[in-house]
């Protein structure tokens, strides 16, 4: 089933909460740039830059 806007918001909220954890400082050290400016690789995760930088992206 396709996610609605509320679901996406919830997911983004969870993501934001997780990224606020102390572990995120560790993650920053293993960010790998990719060929695309909008994508980053963090500890093996392929993420949108906006996933990790929020509204600053």
């Amino acid at each position: 089933m396709k996610q609605n806007a509320d679901d996406r918001l919830k997911r983004r909220t969870v993501l934001a909460a997780l990224l606020a954890l102390p572990a995120f400082a560790l993650l920053h050290r293993v960010i790998r740039p990719t060929a695309s400016s909008d994508i980053v690789e963090v500890d093996g995760w392929i993420l949108k830059r906006s996933d990790v930088e929020g509204d600053r992206a």
């Binding site: 089933m1 919830k10 997911r11 963090v42 093996g44 392929i46």
Partner: protein
Amino acid sequence: MIFQDAAAFQASSFTPRVCVIGSGPAGLSVALKLAAAKVPCVVLEAGADEWTEDAQDAYRGDVIGDHYFDLDVTRLRYFGGSSNHWAGWCRVLDAHDFEPKAYVEHTGWPIGRGDIEPFLDETRDVLDLAPFQADRAISSEFRWFEMQKSHPVRFREKYAPLLAESRMIALVLNTQVDELVGDGAAVTAARIRSRGAEAGELVAPYFVVATGGLENSRLLLWSNERSNGGVVPHARALGRYWMEHPMFEVGMGFVTDTDTMRFDAEGDAFFTPSAEAMAAREVLNFHVQVESMPYHGIKKYIAGTACMAPESTQWVAETLGLRLTCASRLHMAWEQPPREHNRVSLSTTERDAAGIPRIELHWRKDDLDRRTMLEGIRMFGETFARNDLGRIRISDWVRDGGDWPDDMEIAGNHHMGGTRMGENRATSVVDANCKVHGMANLYVAGSSVFATSGQCTPTTSLTALALRLGDHLGRVVVAGPSKA
């Protein structure tokens, strides 16, 4: 007609125009087309009508290089061949699989997808397939495709009644070809063995070797050695450029857009890159199988998002007391580069009960395998994120270049190459019609003729190629030798 051994066949008055060696999907597909053209043919099957330890023993051999399956487990030697343990997953090679890739040596076929397309309807009939659904692009780089999970046809069960009634096909069980005899221009006879004893020579105007993607090389290597080069006069590539589809679990992830994913009834979705995407990263073809493990509600979100780092996963698990796993597993299978050093050779020390050297399979994955795996899954992850299908994580061993795991699928039991198709006699064994270079009456059927492997399971394409060969050979036989 079905005969239980060579003696029974020799007592009949059946006179074949073609001798087909092997009763698996390739051999029987050739025979069906010959019968349709009213060309009488004999099909020799080394095994019985059921599995026996004695027949299977001839398939034992050694693997030198990367971890691989036991050679007497990865294939079957009885009526119907390896269709007896085939999983039934189907897909046809794409048009771009036949094209050369400038960045990988020895790629490209002398035929195109258009050459097998006229035989795809018959292929579906032979393999009891439904029409394939059209691919659907999910981005400029990737397409969803249907891996058709058919009810696997066991050729023995499906075709035994037809063969029993046929006046054009004589199936002879318990009868193997020890060697083909050739004079450098044509095969003159096949030396056969039935029920463990030598049974003389079988003469036919044409021969088709269809004993499987490992055994085709073995039979031709041994025959050529015994005939001092009289069976495969241009043998430099014989046994070489052997390929598999390496298969590994390469990561995990979570899915947020299941509509686009179009999971099948078993919860799998398959994706393959465009030719342009492969070229941009200089990788070979591959597919990613997303195996869903559905969740509901917050547990799903947390399972997916918390996996972003082990530390945060543990924190969430401890805090919420949830037992976390991830929402999908990512499996990858890819096309290997055709390498001369990956090859089937004859053992110098080990022989089977008939005195024929056993196989030594030399097989190693190399840097391009690693590159295709890692850059391929990265590319898929980028499409996944950019299009908000979800997020994926690549396993540590994949990113770190760790040892190849030996506790995963390893490969597909897909035996390809060894008698590859091509125009260059130094790098191929058969021509575009599957005829051995320099020989007037010797053909090869099966995935051993694959010049490259593409990413998909080989049975559908090899069946189409075998039907094409049967169609061609039927016309050659009817027209006479000058048309060969």
